[in-house]
């Protein structure tokens, strides 16, 4: 004999088994209906506040040898442009202007050589200054130089810093360049930049502080009595790729001068394939 549990006289509650069965049925039917429902459209993107233009993302830029060559080409043009500005401002002594004229001619020739190298490898020549480098470094530096208490002192310092930055940049990009022949061609120009930097340093400070920088000569100071970095023809044992400090301009109300550090190219400085001028 089977004894059944009485059902009629129990309260109308939901036991655990019923809840699981009915709950599962409800979820299953809901999923089916949801899958079969029509798409009524409408914007599902997060809401925006304000009327600003939509942000546009940059194309993905591949870093390859052509990009690196074009980047150095743009930096050669940037330095040439800086020298032109400082020349027009009368920033060089007659003797130094002779050097600067030669440097400017070298930068033009180097830019052309790099443009030809880019084209020979399927790229496009970029015979313009580097926009990022100009706005971040050259323009503010030139602004400080133009209103300086000693324009010639500052133009000499800025020129040395720019040539040093070029030397560091060429050397730095050797490690990113993949084709050995491209490395060779880049370092031909990098060696020239190192020579220009050393020549300016030797003429500016070798008589007072010697040729060897503080890392090679414990008696060589980093800065002069006014806080300006002292250039050295041989600042260290190995060629460097670090940032180049610059201090120029008049003393401001807070007692300091404009200072910045020129840096070797990075992702934000590279002249990618999709850029042209």
């Amino acid at each position: 004999m089977i004894r059944r549990r009485p059902t009629t006289d129990t309260p109308a509650g939901i036991d655990r088994r019923t809840m699981l069965r009915n709950g599962g049925l409800a979820v299953g039917v809901g999923a089916l209906l949801s899958a079969c429902a029509k798409n009524f459209g409408g914007d599902t993107a997060p809401g925006r506040v304000g009327v600003a233009d939509e942000a546009t993302s940059l194309p993905d830029g591949e870093i390859n040898d052509v990009v690196l060559v074009r980047t150095m080409q743009s930096l050669e043009h940037s330095v040439a442009e800086a020298l032109r500005l400082m020349t027009e401002a009368g920033g060089y002594s007659a003797a130094l202007q002779t050097y600067v004229d030669r440097f400017a001619a070298d930068h033009a020739a180097n830019g052309a050589a790099l443009g030809a190298l880019a084209e020979a490898n399927g790229g496009e020549s970029y015979a313009c200054p580097n926009t990022w480098f100009m706005s971040r470094y050259v323009e503010p530096m030139y602004g400080a130089v133009a209103s300086s208490d000693d324009v010639q002192r500052d133009c000499r310092a800025a020129t040395h810093a720019l040539e040093t930055m070029l030397a560091h940049s060429y050397q730095f990009l050797v490690g990113l360049t993949t084709e050995p022949e491209h490395r060779r061609q880049m370092m031909l120009l990098g060696a020239s930049a190192a020579r220009r930097s050393a020549m300016l340093a030797a003429q500016a400070s070798a008589g007072t502080h010697g040729y060897l920088g503080p890392s090679l000569n414990a008696e060589a100071p980093e800065t002069d009595g006014l806080g300006f970095p002292i250039p050295y023809a041989v600042p260290s044992t190995f060629g460097r790729v670090d940032q180049v400090p610059v201090v120029v301009g008049a003393v401001d109300d807070e007692g300091s001068r404009f200072s910045t550090t020129l840096q070797t190219p990075a992702e934000n400085t590279f002249v990618y394939d999709y850029l042209s001028c």
Partner: protein
């Protein structure tokens, strides 16, 4: 308290054999992955026999320069600058040793013998010629080196030796000569 038997408690059934084979396969795949990744990362860092030969040539050139500066100092050349130059070329040879594993000993006797008299008598111009040739040689070397780190080291030496040329020109009283300072007219040494 009783528990249902777990897979580890069961006898070595066909199912368990499959599991073990899958685990073994996974280990093998993992091992291959490790080996593969090592191969992939090691490949760009390996120097070929030809590259080792060229870097040894560069190293010997640096050791030769060191010995030539030492010979000039012994013959009475001005001390601190020549000593610094000697130490720097020694450092370049050591840097090449660090990337090749080649001991920084020996020198290029042919170059040394050809230059030593010049270093003993007119060391500034002889040193300028040697630094120019070394910078040109190392620049040429870059066209034959595929490993990025080795290329970086060689490039840093090129940079520094180019600066040495300017210093030596200035010491020689030619510091304002733009052509001598800005153009390296030296031919690279013939590579082996």
């Amino acid at each position: 308290m009783n528990q249902s038997p777990t897979a580890t408690d069961t006898p070595d059934t066909e199912h368990d054999g499959l599991r073990r084979r899958l685990m073994a396969g996974g280990l093998a795949a993992a091992a291959l992955g490790v080996l593969g990744s090592r191969t992939a990362s090691a490949a760009p860092n390996e120097l070929s026999a030809r590259e080792m030969e060229l870097l040894r040539f560069a190293q010997l050139l640096e050791l030769t320069a060191r010995d030539l500066y030492d010979a000039a100092t012994a013959a009475g050349a001005p001390g601190p600058l020549w000593e610094a130059m000697s130490e720097q070329h020694e450092a370049y040879a050591q840097a090449i040793a660090s990337i090749t594993g080649l001991s920084a000993t020996g020198r290029n006797d042919a170059v040394y013998d050809a230059q030593v008299d010049g270093f003993r008598t007119d060391s500034v111009l002889a040193a300028h010629a040697l630094e120019s040739a070394a910078a040109a040689t190392h620049t040429e070397l870059l066209a034959h080196i595929t490993q990025a780190h080795a290329a970086e080291v060689i490039a840093s030496i090129v940079s520094s030796e180019s600066r040495h040329c300017v210093v030596l020109a200035d010491v020689a009283g030619l510091g304002t000569n733009l052509d001598i300072n800005l153009i390296n007219s030296a031919d690279p040494l013939e590579l082996p």
